[in-house]
Structures are given as C-alpha cells and as structure tokens.
C-alpha cells in the first residue's frame, strides 16, 4: 500500500478522488508545458545540481534540527525538536518552493513570474527567487493581508517586485489567488505562476511537494544523528499544506503519528475559522478537488484566522487523501491558543515563530505533557515571527 501512495498523483493529477485540473481552457496548454518541464527537470542532472547548490549556498540548507530543551522541560513530557525552517533565507520554508519554481521558469524561458501571498512569506520568497534568477515579478495580496503584514509588503517592494492590492471579495489569500489566476490567464505566454502551496491544478500539488520534501529528507537524517531513531510524532500547521507535506512526505512509510494543525480561528462557527476538515465538504476550488469551506449552494465561505497564511477556504488535495487513508490526523488550534504559543516559545526558547507555525506549537503544548519522556516529537518550525510582531502588538492594544 505504501508504495502505491508514493506513486500518487496519477497522470491526471489525482490523489484518489482529490486533485485534478479545473481551470479555464486558456491555461490548459501552460499546465501541460509546466508538467513536462517539471518532470524533465527531475531527471535533469544539471538542473538538480544547480538547485542543490543554491539550497546550500543561498537558502542555507540544511536547516538545523534543534532540540528545544527548555520548551521540553516546561511541558514535562516528550522530547521536542524544532526543524528550523525559520532560519532558511527569507525566514520561512516558502523559499524552497519559490526558488525551485523560479529556476524552472527560467528554464521555460519565461520573462516574468507572478504569485499570490497571504502572510507575505511566499510573496517575499518569490520576489527573492525572481531577483536571484533575473525575472520580473508581480505579487497579488489582499487588502486585509497587506494591513496585517505591512512589513512583508515593504520587503517585497525592496526586492524589486510590484505588489498589487486585491480589494475584492474577502480581500485575503483566496482573492489574491483568483487575481493571480486572472493575470496568468492573460499573460500566460510570457509568465509563470509560482503557486505557493500544494494546491491548485496539477502539477502544482506534486511539484510543490517535491520542492518542499527536502525538509523531511534532512529531518530524517538529523534525527538519526541526534537520537539514532525515528521520531514518534511529526507536527505541522496546515494552510494549503506545503510545510506539512514537506516534513511528512519522507516519513509516510514509517507508521509515525503525524498531525496537521488547521486554523480554528474564533472557534468552529461558520465564517470564523479555516478548519476545512472540521467544517468543510468536498468541493472544487481554484483548480482542484478537495475539502472546501462552502455553503449548501457551492459558494465559498469566508474564513478567519489570526494568521494570514492559514486563512484559506480549502486544503491541498493530497492532505484530503492522506486523511482518508488515516496516515495523517488533523486538528485545529484557535487564535488564542496560537497567540499563547507564539509568546511561550519566544519567552522560553528565544525563538519567535510565525503565527502560522504557532498553531502547530499550540498542539504540541496540548500533546507533549501527555506523552512519556521517551517519546520524540518533531515540529516543523515553518517560519519566523518577525512579520507578525506588529500585528500581535496591535491585537494586544500596544502602539509601536
């Protein structure tokens, strides 16, 4: 069974019933072109060598696997390791994918890349990749998120990207994706769309997984070095799901307990959260079939999360599949729980996590004390929290 799982998606981009390619006809040839370029690049030694070299010398990989001694002692249970993606260049795991796709865009002789961004991390990563490779770059971002993540907006502009505000719909990530897809439909001949997560039409879910799976490959090696064995638990936050897949994928065959943590927002009431597995149903959205927060007429519901990066109505199709298979469990953390974890890790380890990542930490805070000291947990510390400091201060009523 495990080998079959590893072979997915199938040729049409499906993980069992999830995935596919639901886009306007205009984009179909571009997706085919991208699919071919991507699978070719996997076998292209020169491409892989360049990617590996830049991962090492530019992103700073491998990122450390850090034993969080004080966090572990504070919770009084399982040993907690942090996979420090926050130490990757630009401060989050997003660069792994953005750099890979920027190289691919260059290979396909595109002149321009575009991307959507929620928290701004993927936007910053794409702007960085574009600067490195020498491509024009435009980032779409919802008005609401531009307010929440003003620092990252400035960073993107500093990197030479054009940041375009998306003032329609819910003014968040999903609207930025709509707008990026509209741009791509219009400029598809010259432009590559750097989709930031394991979502959207095939081949994006498999391609982004591939670029992110470096996280799990390293963590596996590193935990053997540190502990001489596999961990018992893997935990990651899940918006679209790229940092979670990035850590989990390499461990899928091992029977390790894996937990994906969604955004519980203000609780699981309609429109107040982004926990797709708690309140969603099967739907087709922005290019693929997966779990979706929608009403009974198939319109997409508004979402809420304290973290812009998890504030999204659907989830990567492979996650839906792995949940069906029972290989990953999904839970959620509320805004308040995430905020508490954000502060706790800052205080106790001197590491300020992104608010997205804080959702995974909130689950660890609940889980670790219940486990024995022999157990080992690895958390994907997917991003740093500098971008969130202003937002958190505002929530706490502090003027900076």
């Amino acid at each position: 069974m495990e080998d079959r799982i590893k072979k997915l998606p199938d040729k049409k981009g499906y993980f069992s019933i999830y995935g596919g390619r639901f886009v306007p006809e205009t984009l179909m040839p571009a997706l085919k072109e991208l699919e071919e370029a991507f699978f070719k690049s996997k076998k292209d030694k020169e491409f892989q060598r360049e990617l590996g070299h830049l991962q090492k010398t530019y992103i700073g990989r491998p990122t450390p696997l850090y034993f969080a001694r004080r966090f572990t002692e504070h919770l009084g249970g399982a040993k907690i390791y942090l996979k420090r993606e926050d130490l990757a260049h630009t401060g989050a795991h997003k660069i792994n994918n953005a750099l890979g796709q920027a190289l691919l865009a260059k290979k396909m002789e595109k002149k321009r890349v575009i991307a959507e961004t929620g928290a701004g991390q993927h936007g910053v990563a794409t702007a960085t990749g574009a600067a490195l490779v020498g491509l024009d770059c435009e980032i779409y971002m919802g008005t609401e998120d531009m307010k929440r993540q003003a620092l990252n907006v400035f960073r993107m502009r500093l990197l030479g990207a054009k940041v375009t505000e998306v003032p329609v719909g819910s003014k968040t990530l999903k609207d930025a994706i709509n707008e990026a897809l509209r741009d791509w439909t219009t400029n598809v001949r010259t432009t590559h769309y750097v989709l930031g997560t394991v979502f959207g039409p095939h081949p994006f879910p498999v391609m982004v997984r591939d670029f992110q799976s470096v996280i799990g490959k390293e963590a596996r090696r590193q935990i053997f070095d540190a502990e001489g064995r596999l961990p018992d638990y893997l935990i990651a936050c899940v918006g679209g799901g790229s940092n979670a897949i990035g850590l989990f994928y390499e461990f899928l065959k091992e029977g390790i307990k894996m937990i994906g943590v969604e955004a519980g927002g203000k609780g699981i009431d309609m429109g107040k959260h982004a926990a797709r597995f708690a309140g969603g149903s099967l739907g087709v959205f922005q290019g693929c079939k997966s779990y979706l927060l929608q009403d009974e007429d198939g319109n997409v519901l508004g979402t809420h999360s304290i973290s812009a990066g998890l504030d999204y109505a659907s989830i990567g199709p492979e996650h839906s599949y792995l949940r069906d298979k029972g290989l990953i469990q999904y839970t959620y953390a509320t805004d308040d729980e995430a905020l508490a974890a954000f502060e706790l890790l800052s205080r106790i380890e001197g590491i300020t996590p992104a608010l997205e990542t804080a959702h995974a930490l909130a689950e660890v805070v609940k889980l670790a004390p219940k486990l024995s000291k022999e157990n080992i947990i690895i958390i994907n510390l997917s991003g740093r929290g500098d971008k969130d400091v202003q937002h958190v201060a505002r929530i706490k009523g502090i003027e900076l």
Partner: protein
C-alpha cells in the same frame, strides 16, 4: 431530442445570418429585472441568451462581471434559484438559454440532479469555464442522456490536440475565447481570430461563437464575419446600469452589426 441551440444555428446558416448571443448575470440587481432584460434581448432579435450564475470566486471574469456576481449574491441568488427562474421565464419566452456557471455550484448540486433540473426547467445548454472536457466525463454523460448541450471553450492558446478534444465534447456550439485573458479584456482585431477559427474549422463543422472582449458594434460586426455567432457579456453588464432605453439602443446596434 433535437438541440434547440443546434437548430438555431442551422436555421441562421440557412438564412445566411450569424447568431447574436447577449449575456446577462441572473439576479443583477434582481431576478425581476433580469426577466425584463431577457425579454428585451429577444424583442431586439437575440438568437440565444447566455445567463450567468453568480459565484463567489469567478476566476475567469473581469471586474464588470465580478461586480455583477457580487450584487446577485447579495440578493441571495443561487444556482437553484436561477434554475427556478428559467422555469418561470419559460412561460414568457422560448428563446434558447445557455447557463454560464462555475463548476463548484454544479458539483455541490450534484451533476446528475443539476442536469435533470436544468433540463426540466427549460435550460438548453451549459457553459462551465473552469471545467475542461478532461474533467467533464461524467458531466458529459449525464448531459447527453438529458439532451442538454455541453458548450466547451477554446482559446488562442489551444493546441491541435485541445481543439480536437474540445470540439468532440461540445454540443450546440463551440465557445471561442477571442482573447488570451478574462471576460471584458481588450479585443485585438488583427486577423488572429480569423486565423484561429480557420484552424478550428479544420477539425470540426460545429458552429463557433466568439466571446470575451467584444464590446462595440464595430467589433461585433468584424467578429461575426469570421464566425457563426457573437457573444457580448461584460459590455452589456457595464451598460446595464444606464437607463433601460440606453441598454436597448445598444442591444439593437449590436444586433444590426452582427450579420
């Protein structure tokens, strides 16, 4: 069962005419108003009406239709209500109607139920911009059984393989997207539409109607000369906020231009 849309194109061809297919978003700003507009379209000589179904995330649409969609949603218009609306409309007009809807409302409704209810209500064809034939196997199967026309889209980027696939899956007509872009974009009348339509004609003799970006009577006239029909959407939706007489005059001018 005979396809009313196919028959319409046949009849027009016999007369040496081209189809005029105006678009309106159902429920923008109310279903009552939409009914008046559809009847006005017919009175002005439209051949087929394309009726939009509002959706929260219309990713193939430009600003004009996005806003129309938002206004209709605010009024609580859903796919279910649009189907009921067509049923009601059938007491006043028999003009062929093609629904333009995104896929998720259809998926949520259930393909089979949707096809049955739409057909029963008097819908003649369905256009789903985010459902390429590659993903439409079961939808096509249900639609064939109910004799509901499946109208698929081709674009300037379509390769010969895509043209063959889309032509084969389409019934009623093929919707040729005249620009690389979203609805309401800028049309380029540089001969490229004609070239691409001739390419499509190498693979199929099904009628080809052209839409996306057709806005002025001059553009409509030019496009009608190289195709079997002209679809006008965003420009009508934009003008729709003007007094009814203004819209009607515009519709008449389009009708006169499409020959």
């Amino acid at each position: 069962m005979i396809s009313r849309i196919k028959e319409t194109f046949k009849e027009l061809k016999r007369k040496g005419k081209k189809a005029f297919i105006p678009y309106i978003m159902a429920g923008d700003p109310s279903l009552e108003r939409t009914k008046d507009i559809v009847l006005m379209f017919e009175e002005c000589g439209a051949d087929i009406v394309e009726l939009g179904v509002p959706f929260t995330d219309p990713l193939a649409d430009g600003p004009a239709i996005q806003r129309a969609s938002e206004r209709a949603l605010e009024k609580g218009v859903t796919l279910r209500r649009v189907i009921a609306f067509v049923k009601d409309l059938r007491e006043s007009t028999q003009i062929p109607i093609a629904l333009m809807t995104y896929y998720n409302p259809v998926f949520k409704y259930g393909e089979e139920n949707f096809v049955r209810d739409a057909k029963d209500a008097g819908v003649n064809g369905v256009i789903i911009p985010d459902l390429p034939p590659d993903e439409a196997e079961s939808f096509i199967r249900h639609s064939r059984k109910a004799s509901l026309d499946t109208i698929f889209l081709l674009a300037p980027t379509s390769t010969p393989d895509r043209i063959k696939k889309v032509a084969k899956a389409s019934r009623g007509f093929i919707y040729y997207v005249s620009i690389t872009g979203i609805t309401g974009g800028m049309l380029l009348l540089d001969g490229s539409i004609e070239a691409l339509i001739s390419e499509i004609r190498e693979y199929t003799d099904k009628p080809i109607a052209v839409g996306f970006g057709v806005s002025t009577p001059e553009e409509a006239s030019a496009v009608s000369k190289v195709s079997d029909g002209v679809i006008v959407g965003s420009a009508i939706v934009k003008r729709h906020n003007e007094p009814p007489d203004g819209l009607k005059r515009y519709i008449i001018s389009l009708r006169e231009a499409i020959k």
